[in-house]
Amino acid sequence: MKKFLALLLACAILSFISCNQSQSAKAKDSVTVLGVWGGQEAEAFAAMTKVFTERTGIPIQFEATRDIDAVLTTRVQAGNPPDVVILPNPGKLYELAGAGKLVDLSKILDMKEFDKNYASGWKDLGTVKGKLYGLFVKAAIKGLVWYSPKALKDGGYSVPSTWDEMLSTSKKIMASGKAPWSVGIESGSASGWVATDWLENIFLRLNGPAAYKNWYEGDLAWTSPEMKEAWERFGEIVAEPGMAYGGAAYINSTNFGNAPAPLFQKPPKAYFHMQASFIQSFILDSFPGLKPAEDFDFSAFPAIDSAYEKAVEGGADIVAAFSSSAKVKSFMNYLASAEAQSFLAAGTGALATNRNLSLVFYPDALTKRAAEILNKSEIVVFDASDMMPSEMNAAFWKGCVDFVASPSSIDSILENLDKVRLAAYKK
């Protein structure tokens, strides 16, 4: 009896070990990729890698996780990193590059091809201490002003191109008893990020990319006059009675995905909405009958200082490599190519960072135009809050929520943010 039991036990343990082993054997000849993409993004990625595998015979093993910070940290510490990782923001890239964990991409990418295809802004963002560590893919433009062309025409309003024009148009709209803007910054545990995009776009157009860089790197005080002016201008939208639909109560309790809705109600409750290029899919989800470019359209964020009117704020996912083996090399070169990025553009409506991607791959006219803006822009900066240490970023989100609730506390909010800055950048 005892022998029989021992035998059973041994079998159970052996089968457990063997199935683990078969898993790791498979991983040996393939490129392992860890990333946050799921759903539509993962499908587009699969279509993209399928072509690569057919051509080279190198299988790609993609592992998706929403908790990339924890998973990646653990695997790097355990000495078992993936070959390639797709990161959602640059903070982690800089951390890994600083710790010497990543491969210098200029050694494995065809740099002549790279320089031809990528704006220097993307290259600079991926560079740490003179070495290229991050390849930016799948971009979005932040800070676009969305509107309904029909509603504007009916009201006799035009699309404002400067901040002052925006204010005068807004006053006209308010005089007719309607709200010019619809703003919603609720987003679960990330509530407030929409407002950080507002502030980033205002700050960039007020002070330019150099000051913008100082800001996210922690060298600019939140209590500085430049910063305060940006917040006060944001206050002209969210704190002015009648300016934003529903006032502070609506702004703080409305999810960003529902915030464009008042523009498309009949009759419209608001006329303008500021959001990144990805909001298009949210608009189409809520109002499937609308046609891009016809029923809804966007224009650039209103210019403040004319010197910076061509500036564009973008967001993107970043690819980095932990290995410089031949198969990783060939995969990274493929990822950087216009061909690979066409799959992401066609499948998700995301913008390619490779500027030589033909515009025909974009699913509709609006996305095409967004891609054009991104390709032609002279100044590309990354979402500042995403570049800040996580504690600073979280405090920034929260500060925005507090500011919307009580704009008169601006000084104490900024002082508190500066206290967080002094602590957060030291770590």
Binding site: F16, S253, K269, A424
Partner: protein, 322 residues
């Protein structure tokens, strides 16, 4: 395949290993004749004790140690993390909110639970009422948070209200409120969600205690001409006092740990933060294991006295009614 293997190992392997352990340990107990009956319980207890030590005692000690260390667990910083727990405005706000939760959640749940238990005791459709009130207990906190976000949905005055709460306010001629964004009501709105979820728990246990109150006493009181109110306050309530304390302490332990509802519905914005959410943020957003551990330790110290009361009550329950 991997999960299947793990599942098989758990299903067959664990009982097998335990069985083998007890069989093999028997000769060990017999090694010392005469002492075998003394030794045996400890040998049998050993696996559970080892598990408790590894998964409960060790983490508690480790957390206490981490609370005296810096953010990355590197250097010893004394009590400075605790200093921050009791001085940082974010933490003080969270502590204050936990007190709000402690008072309003416990009282609210207890009162509604008792009310429904007493009232439903006297109607024919008792089972249906109790089932309805109990249902929220079966929903996960996260789902409840999302449901109530819809309930509290806000549209500006004059628009069609899509959130149930504001729609009712509208029908009654009131003004719509942004329940989760308005600082004067948002904490109470969150607590209401907690009460909605836990009333079923209080009701079920209090109802069981009510049924155990002897009918003879109640009848005798009625014969003597006592009013229903007198019967409730002078007889029923004293009889179930033990259960009321048990329910109250259990609720208190749960409310001190409240996290999910706040995390899902407001993430502590606009003055609604609670200690457990602060702890989560320090640990997983800001990677400050020192302060997070200090908050956890404070929480533990707050819960211990309530737990002791609860356990004592529980032990006495064997020979005291209710």
């Amino acid at each position: 395949m991997e999960t299947l293997g793990a599942f098989a190992a758990a299903l067959i392997g664990v009982p097998l290993a335990l069985y083998a352990y007890i069989r093999l340990s028997e000769p060990m107990a017999r090694l010392r004749p005469g002492k075998a009956s003394l030794l045996r319980p400890w040998i049998w207890l050993f696996p559970s004790l080892a598990l408790v030590a590894v998964f409960l005692v060790y983490p508690v000690i480790d957390t206490l140690a981490a609370s005296l260390r810096s953010a990355d667990g590197g250097s010893y910083v004394g009590l400075s993390n605790y200093g921050r727990v009791f001085t940082e405005p974010d933490n003080l706000g969270a502590l204050k909110n936990n007190l709000l939760w402690l008072a309003f959640f416990t009282l609210g749940t207890l009162l509604f639970g008792l009310l429904i238990a007493v009232l439903s005791d006297r109607v024919r459709y008792e089972a249906a009422v109790k089932a309805l009130v109990f249902i929220p207990m079966a929903i996960s906190f996260v789902a409840a948070g999302i449901i109530w976000k819809f309930m509290f949905e806000f549209r500006p005055a004059g628009e069609a209200q899509v959130g149930t709460v504001n729609a009712i306010a509208d029908i009654l001629g009131g003004q719509p409120r942004a329940w989760l964004a308005d600082k004067s009501v948002n904490n109470l709105a969150l607590i209401a969600v907690g009460v909605w979820m836990w009333t079923g728990f209080a009701m079920v246990i209090l109802s069981a205690a009510l049924k155990a109150v002897s009918v003879d006493i109640l009848e005798a009181a009625r014969m003597d001409g006592a009013s229903e109110a007198q019967i409730f306050f002078r007889i029923t309530l004293p009889c179930i006092a033990g259960t009321v304390v048990f329910v109250a302490t259990t609720l208190m332990i749960n409310v001190l740990k409240v996290f999910d509802i706040v995390y899902v519905m407001t993430n502590g914005n606009l003055g609604t933060d609670v200690i457990a959410n602060r702890m989560y943020k320090e640990m997983f957003n800001f990677h400050d294991s020192g302060e997070a551990s200090a908050i956890a330790s404070v929480l533990l110290v707050c819960i211990i006295p309530v737990m002791i009361v609860n356990i004592r009550r529980y032990r006495r329950q064997g020979h005291v009614n209710g």
